[in-house]
Subunit: 426 residues, 2 copies
Amino acid sequence: MQLPAPLSDCSPAQLQALLAELQRDYQAHCDANLALDLTRGKPSTEQLDLSDALDGLLAGDYRAADGSDCRNYGGLHGLAELRAVGAELLATTPAQTIAGGSSSLTLMYFTLLFANLFGLAGAPAWQSRGGVKIICPVPGYDRHFAICERLGIEMVTVAMNSDGPDMDAVEQLLASDPSIVGMWNVPKHSNPTGITYSDAVVKRIAKLGQLAQPGFLVLWDNAYAVHDIAASSDPLTAIAPLAEAAGTQVAQFASTSKITHAGAGVSFMAGSQALIDSVVEQLGIAMIGPDKVNQLRHVALLKEGGLAKIMDGHRALLAPRFAAVEQALAAHFSGSELLRWTRPNGGYFVSVDTLAGLASRVVALAAAAGVKLTPAGATFPYHRDPQDSNIRLAPSFPSLADVEKTMQVFCCCVQLASVEQQLANG
Amino acid sequence: MQLPAPLSDCSPAQLQALLAELQRDYQAHCDANLALDLTRGKPSTEQLDLSDALDGLLAGDYRAADGSDCRNYGGLHGLAELRAVGAELLATTPAQTIAGGSSSLTLMYFTLLFANLFGLAGAPAWQSRGGVKIICPVPGYDRHFAICERLGIEMVTVAMNSDGPDMDAVEQLLASDPSIVGMWNVPKHSNPTGITYSDAVVKRIAKLGQLAQPGFLVLWDNAYAVHDIAASSDPLTAIAPLAEAAGTQVAQFASTSKITHAGAGVSFMAGSQALIDSVVEQLGIAMIGPDKVNQLRHVALLKEGGLAKIMDGHRALLAPRFAAVEQALAAHFSGSELLRWTRPNGGYFVSVDTLAGLASRVVALAAAAGVKLTPAGATFPYHRDPQDSNIRLAPSFPSLADVEKTMQVFCCCVQLASVEQQLANG
């Protein structure tokens, strides 16, 4: 149901009646003993099934295209033929792309660690400059923020608009604060808002190195490079050639975690030759080489149209779930001031904003009714959402029926929290 | 051939005649255009074949014993059933063992990194104490040393005896130098000498925490836990219960790199509950979880006697290669002062000591004759062998015929360098 809009026009008696009705609905949800989870961007079982050919795909032939034995040690850069796959994902050259183990997050952690402790691409170590800061568009990805927090890198936020980060704010920060050493980005189907950076934004980011101190790194986590839900893809301008021309260091990342098997895929990193060379040199202290056998499996699965076929399969499974989220939100909040939300063309998330001060309450209400949501504040550095309004919805993992059920609970919780607040303020 | 012993009894004319003969032999080796490599402890192709059942072993069933889906994200500790395998390798409990990705070296790097930057098991960060040092028995493993060097941790050496490190020296160092924060160990079939620590040595190491500052870590790289070449195994006393009783923190490591596929195996770490908990908490910032699909494959391959059967296969392939090394060394240097060497019952290496000042010359002579040896000094911190005498021989990878050929060249180079030196000194 829709509540009367705006709520501030309702009399106290009307609000009390709404409250009573919503509390009845909410209690009914509680009584249903639900155990639903909309917290993380995990592929569903059916999505994982799409890549089940992986195990056994090699049919006993463990040789790479160059004849080398993938079972043995070595090859810090990863398999040449897989680097070509990564280069295509990241719109750059295989020579400037490396292929790693199952976690691109680990490559990001290492990159920030190496930049901080040792310096990359010939730049001085960040830590040698005293306190340093990284720009974080918000809302954003909690695991990016966790790495910075752990490494003692201060985070400063800028707004994420519908075409990307607020670039005026970014450029102003760089011009005024020499302690800024980097900027996080999820440029396509951003986590959590789902937006894709516009051509103009990518072009401005590619030039940031000219405003920054040496050692400045654009962190470009292209986790959803080919993860379209809508029939047509949001185009993303290739940053590598622009950055190269402008002398900006961009560290690109991607993985197959949301292409093949989430926990057993392969990862990629790309950047200038100097950046990649220095990262590989550092990695050589921490490992002998990535799992090339799994890399070979991935080449066999993804080559010759395999990737596109799998992504079609993901789209077919994800599109109805995202449609269910949109349908429920529209049914309850279309034209309402109580909730704003995004309508992504891809990725794994829908980002919603409640009225200020209500996100924590909504998450708590949902939890008590058996629906786990990402904790309020998780999409902001230090878990501090100054408005307490943003919540990330991740509908990929539950069944379609469960997404629908969850959304009914969620919408009820938002309405209930909103009426509670109106009553308290009134 | 054997040279007359001792060389110092030879007249200059005799030495010149020997030199001419050895130079002829050496030239013959050079003329053979060899391309042989005895540098790294890499399994041979035949050894890797022993585990070729891995790919396809799951037959489409990706569920762990607890019913969880190994394809999806999560599970920082690794699969329960694989942790049990690791616990057996490391003679400890599954609860205190975690299973990781393909590289135990990465777990070691992370452990030292975390201890240095953040502190582990409740201890203060090493770096908060200013300059710190780690004890390294020598000769030892170059990659252990490389991690310390990169992280700015000073290395102090103690001698590696036939029963383990010189424990008097170790205890003296700990008693006199409060900046010591750890000690490297390869306790079984040590790299490179092949010796296994005696019961008495293990017991003394397990008590080192009582002599040390809080934060002291025994690094126990049990890379060759089940890697016997001789028919009977060198027994290694289990350190975990002893260390637990004495309050010493021991970080144990192992992997299947030299059990299954060298570059595509699984790794293990074990320690006190506090140590493991703090490592897992830190790992959680850098990754979402290890590749559980590959872990599941490994459980399927290694369970129910699978491990023992594979190790029998390795032994059958390695024993003749090690015998060829021993045979060549005995034929050329038995009773001679020119070379001392180890006769390991397992592991991957034979450690030799030339006369002082000759290791670099031998390695250079061999290289010029097409035989790559581990660089002289590699078995010492900072690549500095104060005697310039230690060379690590790794006979696993080449064919038996190539090991035999390589050893002829090697022995010729040692004799040639020795005669050259005697002539120069005489």
